[in-house]
Symmetry: C2
Subunit: 154 residues, 2 copies
Amino acid sequence: MTKMTTTPELLLENQLCFTIYACSREITKLYQPYLDSIGVTYSQYLVMLVLWERRQCTVKEIGEALFLDSGTLTPLLKRLQAAGLILRERSLQDERKVLISLTEQGWALQKDALCIPSKMMEGTAMTGDEFVDLLAQFKNLLGRVHDTNLLSKK
Amino acid sequence: MTKMTTTPELLLENQLCFTIYACSREITKLYQPYLDSIGVTYSQYLVMLVLWERRQCTVKEIGEALFLDSGTLTPLLKRLQAAGLILRERSLQDERKVLISLTEQGWALQKDALCIPSKMMEGTAMTGDEFVDLLAQFKNLLGRVHDTNLLSKK
DNA sequence: TTATATTATATTGTGTACAATACATTATCA
DNA sequence: TGATAATGTATTGTACACAATATAATATAA
């Protein structure tokens, strides 16, 4: 028996944070081949999901939906614009806002993306019930942590 | 009722991937004030957890423990070295390997880190049972996804 | 024992993430 | 109305994250 050099609380295998962090990156890798085939990154794909759903958004709205700030979104959106998938234009009503909308090419990409979710289900080797259950638990945790973060901002 | 512009599979709220991704980033934010106070980043903290546990590691071993590659670890380890927390030295037995170990200052930091896990438990507002249960489920998911990724590498 | 393959790390380039700051625009109040 | 605050986006700087490639050292095989 080797002498312990740390405590149970600090063991990597007991860290929920690490498990989630590693999970997130491994899932991104799972998407990689499919995202490569449609030519967007994982974060860009999430932005496209938001736009397919809402048609038009401000940068702020996209940020609220994805929990991302403008320092991340601005360059990302410029790359999507350069790829011809979205339009960026200042609102005429309020010139502080930048309106993001889809080009025809951006809408066309939706068809290519349709098969991705089912491929991912396969990759996680989960049943539909497991998926629904896990999603609910994650959302619950996300809600709690997000609330704590909001409180500590004030 | 507005006309739907996307399908249920592509709705952001149905994406397990996004929920986990957002969760991971929000949890990192939860750690931020405590990590700031001990002067390391989140990824650097994870490397320190590995080293407090194993005393000495090669870069490869740290990468396997954290699912990170050398492109991420090399600069990160150099910053930890510059901060005086670790040592980096080539193995005499096999000069391809770089051995990472803790300085006295690196060990001293462990005391300051001891309080962090309990603070995080508070931030997630979970009971001990919920925590154990959730951790088991995420580990299960991580294992499955990691296996799928390993298979597709071959 | 050389040629070949494998292993371990480092480097480079692209793309996030986010804090901090700057800046222009709009809203509000004295 | 003029000053002040709040809002929305962009910019800058630091630190990952990873694919692809390079390089050096070790192991293996003919």
